[in-house]
Each structure stands twice: as structure tokens, then as C-alpha cells.
Symmetry: C2
Subunit: 188 residues, 2 copies
């Protein structure tokens, strides 16, 4: 199972591809960050995030995409950018019929460290160990993206297969021309 983990953000969007199955050693396929300039306008930044993620999807052809679930109890300015970047990630995957799973930060931390309240250093250390790397991936967004992918691989495989079938079905349905629910309007 090949999973692309995405830690969404406009300034740094962490991406990491991990391959493996639950209970077997995991393999790192790629890790990096899609960056957009903080001084660019929002539209330009969202297009750059889309282009960056499309390249990762083209290159690695993941079977699943795992995205960090965004909550709005955090900093108001940050959370809007995070929500918008996550929308782009979910859109890019869903357009291709790739199932998307959302995991909360504490689910991810609990999966890789055993504690939902682990700090960044602990997550980085466990990602390094689980993927047999020489050093923790930098920046932390890249390590978090790998942790998301690992968390997803360790979920019940049967659940993933169901989700994959549902996402494929949905993507085929939404590709049908002029789906009656999708648009309703009148034109003067």
C-alpha cells in the first residue's frame, strides 16, 4: 500500500510517501515540502500548492492520501490558510479517484509514538526509526506528513479497501456530465 501524507499549509505544505502494510517494515518513497511565497496573493498560493501536489501525485501514484484534519480552535489567521490548503489536497486526490482519509494530529501522534500528546521531536524520532533513516526529516512539516502516511497504513486494511471502492465509485459518478445535483441555475 502506497500512501501520500499531506500536512497542509500555505507557507510549507509537508508531503511524504510511505509504502508498506501493517505489521511489516515500511519504506520511504519520497519526502519534501511544497512552499509558496508568503507575500503572494492567496489565489497564486493555492495554484502553487495545487501544482506542487499534482507533481507528487504524478510521480508517486499513491493509492491513498492521508491529510491532517484541521480544527478551527487554533489561531484564526493560520487555520484559514490550513483549511484552504487542505481543501486543495483533498480536491487533487478526489479528482483522481484516490480515497482521502483525514486524521487528527493526536491520532497521528498516538499511532507513531503511543501518545496523543507527543511533541514534534518525539514524532520525528519515531518516523526516523520506523523508516530506518539516518536523521529526522526536516522541516517538521515533512516529518508530520510521513507520520500521517504511517498512521494511515496502520489502520485496518479492510476499512481501507472499502474506502477505496467508495472513492472510485464517487469519482466516476462525479465525472458524469451535468450531474443533476451539482449545479442548478438560470441564465439570463
Amino acid at each position: 500500500m502506497r500512501v501520500l501524507g499531506v500536512d497542509p499549509g500555505l507557507t510549507r505544505c509537508g508531503v511524504g510517501v510511505v509504502e508498506g502494510v501493517a505489521g511489516r517494515p515500511l519504506t520511504l518513497r519520497g519526502v519534501g515540502v511544497v512552499r509558496t511565497p508568503a507575500d503572494a496573493d492567496l489565489g497564486h498560493r493555492l495554484v502553487a500548492v495545487e501544482q506542487g501536489l499534482e507533481r507528487w501525485l504524478d510521480e508517486h501514484r499513491p493509492e491513498f492520501v492521508a491529510v491532517e484534519r484541521v480544527f478551527s480552535q487554533h489561531n484564526v489567521r493560520t487555520v484559514m490558510g490550513t483549511a484552504q490548503a487542505s481543501a486543495v489536497a483533498i480536491l487533487c486526490a478526489s479528482r483522481r479517484g484516490i480515497p482521502v482519509a483525514l486524521h487528527t494530529p493526536s491520532e497521528v501522534k498516538a499511532a507513531v509514538t503511543g501518545s496523543g500528546r507527543a511533541d514534534k521531536a518525539q514524532v520525528g524520532a519515531m518516523v526516523t526509526r520506523l523508516l530506518r533513516l539516518d536523521a529526522p526529516p526536516k522541516p517538521a512539516d515533512a516529518a508530520d506528513a510521513l507520520a500521517l502516511a504511517i498512521c494511515h497504513i496502520w489502520r485496518a486494511p479492510a476499512q481501507n479497501r472499502l474506502q477505496q471502492a467508495a472513492a472510485l465509485h464517487a469519482s466516476q459518478a462525479s465525472r458524469a456530465p451535468r450531474a443533476p445535483h451539482a449545479s442548478k441555475g438560470r441564465t439570463a
Copy 2:
């Protein structure tokens, strides 16, 4: 000047196209709602919003897109969906090099009614009058989208021209292959 107004939402995304210039009578070109099923998964809904908005952009070729600015002080569950739908609208326009303007609800209300605290009925009544319609557009999301477009047309035309030039420049820059700022990673 032809403007597509977008009142972003996952369940109902209001869309309205208005043509005109400040100080002259305005013309309604189209109004409607892009709907997505509330029981579908988020990825499917974002793809449906994208497809719906792409059809409006294809059909009406607006020169500007005006999107309601989302704040996160509102209901937590609703605001995330609104932020994600607005990201799709901003992305669709920016990919085409169409400048995007964000207007707050109170800016829009003040523009069409004279008061930033006007209610839905008042906004609907003024949209009906300004576009010389027989009845207020339904649902309110559609009327709000038209109000956004009208608000945008009434902004300083010089400012719009500057923004149009900047958006075109940004879209050309982001279309350049492998922009060095957009992605940085390593592949195992």
C-alpha cells in the same frame, strides 16, 4: 465589466454574474446555486463544487471573480466547509488568471443597502431593484452572490485594472514549469 460573485458553501454555493460599470445600470447575466449532497464525503463535494464553478466560468467568461471573505468567528463546523469551498472558487479563478477579490459580508451589505448590518431581506430587495428583476433571487445564497458581484463593480475601476494586471502576471509566473519556490523535495 463582467463579474462572477461567489457566496461559498458546500451545501449551497451561490453564483451570480453581473455586467456593468459603476454609475450605469447593471445587467444580470446569470444566477444560480451549485449544490452538493450533504451526505457525500468531503472530497466528492469539493470536486462537485469545482465542476459546477468551472461550468459557470466556461459559460460566462467573467473578467473578475468576487468571493465572500470567510471569518472563523462563526460556527466551527460551518466555517471549515465555507473556507474549503472558497478555496476551490479562488483556485478555479486564479488558474485561469482571473483576478479574485474578497469582500466581507458587511462590505457587501453596505455597498448594496447603505448599511453593513442590513438583513437578508434588505439585500434581496436591493439586488432585485438594482438588476430590475421581478422578484428576489432564491435562495438567499444566490442573491448574496449577485450582491458580491455588484459590490465589486462599484469599487474603483482603476484599482480593478491594477489587480487584473497583477493576477495575469502571477498566473503566467505560476504556469512556468517547475517554479523554484513551488516545490522542494527529495525522492528516495
